[in-house]
Point group: C2
Chain length 411, copies 2
């Protein structure tokens, strides 16, 4: 099979660890969607790994470079070479951007090619694009949030179990939420690199890792968390970049949040970032902060944007039918006659329609007697039939009331 | 003063109500930032209002059209004319897009110009850009959320006060959170239009308002909310667009959420949208769903994207200094000797450094005696001095521990 070479876009992949491998798989799985969105079919033209591959040869036969090696050396040299050779670059490398941002952006600008890095901060949460594009001319006052999933997982577990830091860290390592050497995560350095990037974008000013002061969570005691719980507070490792007295402040520190705070419910390995500005009030975004396929998705989003260059007009890709009957679970409120056998009658109707009851409470007496129930997921058409049959029972004092219920745990 | 006309971009503004007026003000305030970001200085070249203005003349002397009139007529004709005349269009008009999306996208595609509409759904939350660009090749399973601020305000107030729907609606109208004719908000039609747009983008399939089934909140009783509270649930008006058995389902309905659900804490006039897909797990975005300047900010973000066409390389605009000393409030944990006068000694040190105590709890006896306190916002350098002085007191059994505290109410 020969393909029209003008329709192929050749991707040079640097690094094939967890994220690099997930990206190669995702690119293969979504090749058709990429072609539909951009008009070009992506192909991996070469992979550079620690074991082998020739960077110059890969660069020569690539249209775009995707850098997922991590670390600053040799990643920095490769990214600079790629940009100078007028190849757009997508990278997930927060250390590289936090330490050498000025150099990288200067070279990209001179070469007139794109450098995209959504995956470098907060995984799949599109905070880089949002700050650069949606809020690109907004006078941002503050960007802050939870940008390290390892520490948020540890703090969540400490709060839930009361166990000390060292014990929970060991558990996080077993579960793959912390690396064998967790130093940069737990001491705040990883979050600091991400905040340097966000501060640079939000305030359009050069910020490097040196400008970020950071503290980690190593010294947090179960006691602190226990007392905080009494006060209704939750503990998070926060990154905060904000305008302060004619300049900016960029810091990472553990911090208690009151229960009404939008970041308070963010648990486990999730990340969340808030942007504040007078014109937008505040916008909060949360999602998985790490994970191979999630990070690879952020990389792929950047790749598509590079291939599109200009923003796309929405395209219909297929004509999907509207499905009108779906499953839901319901709360059901019945004002009933206060006499024996009412629950049995209602339960029989539900059973006949194969609607299964999850919980039921009988309340009130006389003119105030009620049945309040929650039913398990069932086809809505079947529930509607059951509701009609219940409405026809002579034990009801008013039409039945039903409201859908979603029960789900976060993370 | 003459200006280089090639550097000016002429904006034709259709509509000058709340959002139109806020956009004109914001554009003037941010003109310098727009020029820094795009190389072109924006100028309003004409305004069409109900009272006057000639659309054809405005179109003739504009490079971009911003449509903020609302309604489908005459907005539809004007937007189509603008696109056919190869003028990119930014609109906040959800009804227009929900009813005539196919026609508008077809004409934009034929003309080869951009049609952007971030402000049409969920105000300043960048959900349109996120779905179209970040997740443009993601196989999205479900998009759902709270996309009508009026009803969320009403439900939040009903839960807080126990008052019936009609009474809370009247209060919302007084506060400007509900319009004089609130029909389309409370019956779910407004949310349905937004979900039609999100479903179209998420699933790349034509969806119009006719394909969305919706219920409103008119029949919700204080009773339902009271019982839900007992079960730990909160009531929201949800829009849900999801893949179901080979097709899609797009609906709007009131729904109970369990307390762990990411949408449960979204209160008052805020909106929030979640996107679910296997590759991204779930991403949640929340923020103000309405408001003149917030909506105008979303319009301005679209305008900048249109002017940039190609994605921008990050630019430094100014060199802001890093401010290292900022104000924070702190939790302070002291393991102290169990004898009289300890609190007085600690309080004196804090007072000398002008650190003001918000709350203090004394706990434990003997070897377990502690002071746990929260202090009001103060300069961190001053708090550090106080901490050093406290550490030097002979009443401490261990070094003092301090953690920052953020207390803030959502909305």
């Amino acid at each position: 099979m020969s393909e029209d070479p003008s329709k192929v876009v050749r991707i040079g992949l640097l690094g094939r660890g967890t994220v690099g491998g997930a990206f190669a798989d995702l690119l293969a799985a979504r090749a058709g969607a990429v072609e539909a969105a951009t008009g070009r079919r992506p192909e991996i033209s070469g992979v550079l790994t620690r074991e082998g591959g020739d960077f110059d040869a890969i660069l020569e036969r690539s249209d775009v470079i995707v850098e997922l090696m991590g670390g600053t050396d040799p990643a920095r040299g490769h990214v600079l070479d790629a940009l100078r050779a007028k190849r757009p670059v997508v990278t997930a490398n927060k250390q590289l951007l936090a330490k050498h941002g000025d150099e990288l952006f200067d070279v990209a600008r001179e070469a007139g090619v794109q450098l995209r890095f959504e995956a470098a901060v907060a995984g799949v949460i599109p905070i880089v694009r949002t700050i650069q594009e949606s809020f690109g001319v907004t006078e941002i006052a503050k960007v802050f949030g939870i940008v390290n999933g390892t520490t948020n997982f540890i703090l969540t577990e400490m709060a839930a179990s009361g166990a000390p830091f060292e014990e929970v860290l060991a558990r996080a390592q077993e579960l793959g939420y912390a690396e064998a050497d967790p130093t940069d995560d737990v001491n705040g350095a990883d979050a600091a690199a991400k905040m340097a990037i966000l501060a640079r974008l939000a305030f359009h000013t050069p910020v490097t890792l040196d400008g970020v002061s950071y503290e980690g969570i190593e010294r947090v005691k179960p006691d602190d968390i226990a007392y905080a719980k009494e006060l209704g507070l939750s503990l998070k490792l926060l990154g905060v970049a904000e305008r302060r007295e004619g300049g900016i402040s960029v810091r990472v520190f553990p911090c208690f949040l009151s229960p009404g705070h939008p970041l308070a419910p963010v648990e486990g390995p999730f990340n969340a970032v808030m942007v504040e500005a007078p014109d937008i009030t505040e916008v909060t975004m949360s999602g998985p902060g790490a994970g191979g396929v999630q990070t690879a998705s952020a990389v792929l989003g950047d790749l598509v944007s590079i291939l599109n260059g200009d923003a796309p007009v929405h395209e219909t890709r297929e004509e999907l039918p509207i499905v009108s009957d779906v499953v839901s679970s319901f709360y059901l409120h019945l004002e009933v006659a206060d006499r024996p056998g009412v629950l049995a009658q209602v339960a029989k109707v539900l059973g006949d329609k194969e609607v299964s009851v999850k919980s039921v409470v009988q309340q009130g007496v006389g003119e105030d007697a009620r049945l309040v129930m929650v039913v398990h997921e069932c086809l809505e058409s079947r529930f509607a039939e059951a509701l009609e049959a219940i409405d026809a029972l002579d034990v009801l004092r008013a039409p039945p009331r039903a409201i859908r219920v979603i029960e789900e745990e976060f993370v």
